[in-house]
Symmetry: C2
Subunit: 315 residues, 2 copies
């Protein structure tokens, strides 16, 4: 039995994960930020004790604790060097958790945890080399090579969201111009849809959100697209092209056997992926070899805690 | 003693490489294309015999033959699946060479061979994870992870030159729009310089080539830049920015400990690299961690044959 923790900008999930990666139980708490990482770890520690006893286990049944967190970790030292979302800077997560539990503690970037989980029990479990891409507020990516997380010499790799695809394009939150996530994140889709609806107020999208454009999201855009709205069709095709441009870059650089796509928009399944696949297969550099497959990630919101719980297997 | 072969679009180099990667001797022949890969291998085989005896060795001293070749290999089968430059399609290089020599034969992409050589005895020899980028006619790249060539599940990875950095940009030879090599190869620099000189005929560059713009190359542009020509300064700064954009993408995706830059332009050394480094360090996503170093590749034209000769060590 393992504890997997997925610290998010808004909520933190603590899960009890079995040897076969099944989530036995989980609890979500608001990510408490008023008292630094120490305050958050104190709350997490209480929740770990709660969940272990709630599911009739004992702390002695727990083999390790794994933590996934946005930002850049020092995995050897068990420290989050920097997390913009959480306001962490040199946060000694491992040391802090070990004040409460005498257990091995592992730290990783949250997107890497999700990719690891998909590679053990999810969409990429049958292959050695894969990439999991989550289209969310930003774009989270994890690279798996030979069934292990690859994160470069400094644990900072796989920031595909911050690869420039339009060198003269829009300013990204990271300070660069034209990063992929500025065009292909879920937030980018929302922005593209709002701009299109403001230009085309007759679009069905506007009716679906009762004229409140702040309610537009990927689901609404795809609903309108399915119902034949031409504005929605343009938005979806343009967005799919942007997603595909970044994925084609990933294929050309890494040639993973599978790219798994997660995030809310991946719930659109084949009607979204089919648009992307066509664009990628037309644009990859090597067309005469076995091709990377693109599929939907399978573990949804559980990917983070499962991957965190399984970090012990990486050592 | 090993044989390393570097098959290029114009010339093929055959080298006798020692256990410590020193090139004992080499010979260059025109890449004969009139009789398919079989005709080329026949000529190469004669040259292997010649060079072995010329340097007073015996075929029994040779442990293996390695071949680097532009295109996509099937390294298990020893086949070049496709090489646009050479017109090879499913070329059974290993089988053909073994008609002449009863020795182990290894095949790889030429840019991967160069990266491997740099990682064994060149600019990246002190680190486990590196990328070697050659700015030539196109952009050749090789990824080394844990001291081994990484080429994805289908041997087609590391085509960074064909990552889009300008999604609405110039058409690339590969069919995509805005690939990095369209802006940052040596040929791209030449085109940028010719266009700039045509707009600014007073530039010193034009005098340096006696008004024959077809003679413009990176060396001429840098000469003019060093002598204070403002047109050349603009060309160099723009080109360095394009090179840096792609390198920043590589850092964000792979976080190699070192990126080595090869190709003729790398001969400009620090006056070129200093421009690039500034741009990369301002633009990488994770600035709070140890940073990727960018340096000049060390092995020049020998990288290909040395890496090919050392392919046997990868198995």
């Amino acid at each position: 039995m393992y504890i997997g923790i997925d610290i998010g900008g808004t909520n933190t999930v603590i899960a009890l994960v079995g040897d076969n990666c099944q989530v036995k139980g989980k609890v979500s708490v608001a990510t408490f930020k008023d008292d630094g990482y120490q305050g958050l770890i104190r709350i997490i520690s209480e929740k770990i004790r709660d969940i272990v006893s709630e599911y009739h286990y004992d702390l002695s049944d727990i083999k390790s604790i794994g933590v996934g967190c946005p930002g850049t970790p020092d995995i050897e030292q068990g420290v989050i060097l920097y997390s913009c979302n959480l306001g962490f800077y040199n946060a000694s997560i491992r040391t802090e958790i070990r004040k409460y539990f005498d257990l091995p503690v592992f730290i990783e970037n949250d997107a890497n945890c999700a990719a690891l989980a998909e590679s053990i029990v999810g969409a990429t479990k049958d292959v050695r080399d894969s990439v999991t891409v989550t289209l969310g507020t930003g774009i989270g990516c994890g690279i798996i090579i030979d069934k292990k997380i690859y994160s470069g010499f400094n644990n900072a790799a796989s920031e595909m969201g911050h690869c420039v695809i339009d060198v003269n394009g829009k300013l990204c939150t990271c300070g660069r111009t034209g990063c992929w996530e500025t065009y292909a994140s879920a937030i980018a889709l929302k922005k593209q849809a709002i701009a299109a609806v403001q230009q085309n107020p007759h679009s069905l999208i506007k009716a679906l959100v009762q004229n409140d454009v702040t309610k537009i999201n990927g689901e609404v855009v795809f609903d309108a697209y399915q119902k034949g709205d031409t504005v929605a069709a343009d938005i979806v095709r343009t967005y799919a092209k942007y997603v595909a441009e970044g994925l084609t870059n990933i294929v050309n650089i890494l040639s993973p056997e599978i790219i798994a796509i997660g995030g809310g928009i991946s719930g659109q399944g084949e009607r979204f992926l089919s648009l992307i696949r066509g664009h990628v297969s037309n644009n990859v550099y090597c067309k005469t070899v076995k091709q990377t497959r693109i599929r939907v990630a399978q573990l949804g919101n559980d990917a983070g805690v499962i991957g965190a719980a399984m970090l012990c297997m990486q050592k």
